[in-house]
């Protein structure tokens, strides 16, 4: 007995390949291609490191984040007082924990005397389990003091203006 395709939208169950099977096969092939692609990248990094990201550039690019407010000042005025960045380093987390920005000495850019969003994100230390309201500060939720916990490509790192005078490394116009 022939099956009525209108009653069985998946198509014949016995003869040939039903559309459901075809869909499964297609899915399996797609997964196979994905695995092959992943395997290819694993082979690229012969030392066994998983590639930093298999996500496309566009994925990274077009996830547009909230636009912060800018601060403007001059060289030589930037490491002064008023930024609100705690010397012990935890204060900087407020910078990334906030979508606000702070000026340096003037406090004119929304941060007030707490500078870079101290009220929102600035109180955290890295063992405080990432309580940032905007998700950008410590974030990782590791109780052992490890920020993010994943690779740099997908972690919840942060940044802000430091009150420290002696950097660990320097960056310049490359």
């Amino acid at each position: 007995m022939d099956l009525d395709p209108k009653r069985d939208p998946q198509g014949p169950a016995v003869q040939g390949i039903s559309s459901r099977d075809a869909a499964r096969a297609e899915k399996a092939m797609k997964q196979g291609r994905q695995r092959a692609r992943q395997a290819r990248w694993l082979s690229v990094f012969s030392w066994g490191t998983v590639a930093a990201s298999v996500a496309g550039f566009f994925t990274l690019w077009y996830t547009v984040s909230g636009s912060p407010v800018s601060a403007a000042t001059g060289i030589g005025q930037t490491n002064g007082t008023g930024s609100g960045m705690a010397a012990q380093g935890s204060g900087s987390q407020g910078a990334s924990g906030s979508t606000r920005s702070g000026s340096m000495a003037s406090g004119a850019y929304g941060g007030g005397d707490a500078g870079f969003g101290g009220a929102i994100g600035g109180r955290r230390h890295h063992r405080d389990l990432g309580s940032g309201l905007d998700g950008g500060a410590s974030g990782g939720g590791n109780d052992g003091g490890v920020y993010g916990g994943s690779t740099y490509g997908g972690s919840f790192g942060g940044a802000g203006i430091s009150s420290a005078q002696s950097p660990d490394v320097r960056t310049g116009g490359s």
């Binding site: 082979s43 690229v44 990094f45 030392w47 998983v50 930093a52 550039f57 566009f58 990274l60 690019w61 077009y62 996830t63 547009v64 636009s67 912060p68 601060a71 403007a72 000042t73 060289i75 030589g76 930037t78 490491n79 012990q88 380093g89 900087s92 987390q93 906030s98 920005s101 870079f116 994100g121 890295h126 998700g135 950008g136 500060a137 990782g140 590791n142 109780d143 003091g145 490890v146 920020y147 690779t151 740099y152 490509g153 997908g154 972690s155 919840f156 790192g157 942060g158 940044a159 802000g160 203006i161 430091s162 005078q165 950097p167 660990d168 490394v169 960056t171 310049g172 116009g173 490359s174």
Partner: protein, 352 residues
Amino acid sequence: MGLVTERRDDLVRTTFAAMGTTVEVVVADGEAAEPARARHVPGDTGGERLPGGTGVERLLDEARRLVADWERRLSRFHPDSDISRINAAAGRWVPVHPGTMEVLRLAEDARRATGGWYHPGLGRAMRAAGYGVSFSELTPAPPLQRSGPTPWGEWPEPAPHSGDLALPVDRTAYELDERALRVKVVEGSEIDLGGIAKGWIVEQVASWLRGMGLRQFIVNAGGDMVCVGLCGERPWRVGIDDPFGGTAPALTLDVWDLALATSGTYRRRWQAGDGIVHHLMDPRTGRPAQTDVVSCTVLHERLVVAEVLAKVALLLGRDAGTAWLAGQPQRGWVMIAADGEVRHAWTGRKSG
């Protein structure tokens, strides 16, 4: 320069010359003293551990080898690199390493995403400006002076035979056949992966070091760096160089688990005839960009993205660059203008 390793201020710092700059790997001393294989890392369920007996110095030596291997594939200054082979065979398919294919794909994605402001086909323009050899072989220009809004005068005319250096920014410089792992450069174009390859290599090294168990370190190539974890109990401190030659940083940042890149017109500058040129080319003209920004630093989860964002913002200039960055998925940026103004902005949301 060979491999130099020193311990100071609770940091193990290794430096070596590569990619036309100084590469440094900085490891928090606690990491170096306590191999990850002997340490429980909460939330870490996998990944490799330091092999028995492996010291951090040995890891860093291996990191140098990785950098050298990738540089040999991706630099246009190495005659046998994939990029040189592609450029020498314009219009023909050239087989490449999968890693090269990945960087070329990222570069093309970046060109599209920036409307051509980042363009990987600027090799010919770079050569015409004199940057056909490694930067160390060029005659350096004197330090940049603080100036008015437009710091640059007229550029020296390019060599007569160089023709029109402007690029069709809406068109690709090469075709990719990812399945067959081969690349064909469009005739008249030359690939230059400056502005993306270095960051990608740094990412590979950082990823490898993480895979080997390190959790607190920085890989930095000439200012483009990946900051992993913390420096002990505090964020990493990254000083942004003063473009006008001051010894103190123009600004110091606290950074953890992010990458940052700085583009600038003040360092890779050289004498070309009677004029001074820099290495950041405007794709629309094929000549060094005329911009009122001398330094732009951008933070992002991915260093390759940070590099592209920093470069394009610098090319756009202070106001257009500020507006453009506001719509981009960055985690913060610092811009230093030719008149000394420093602009910066921060966001807490994850980029991607």
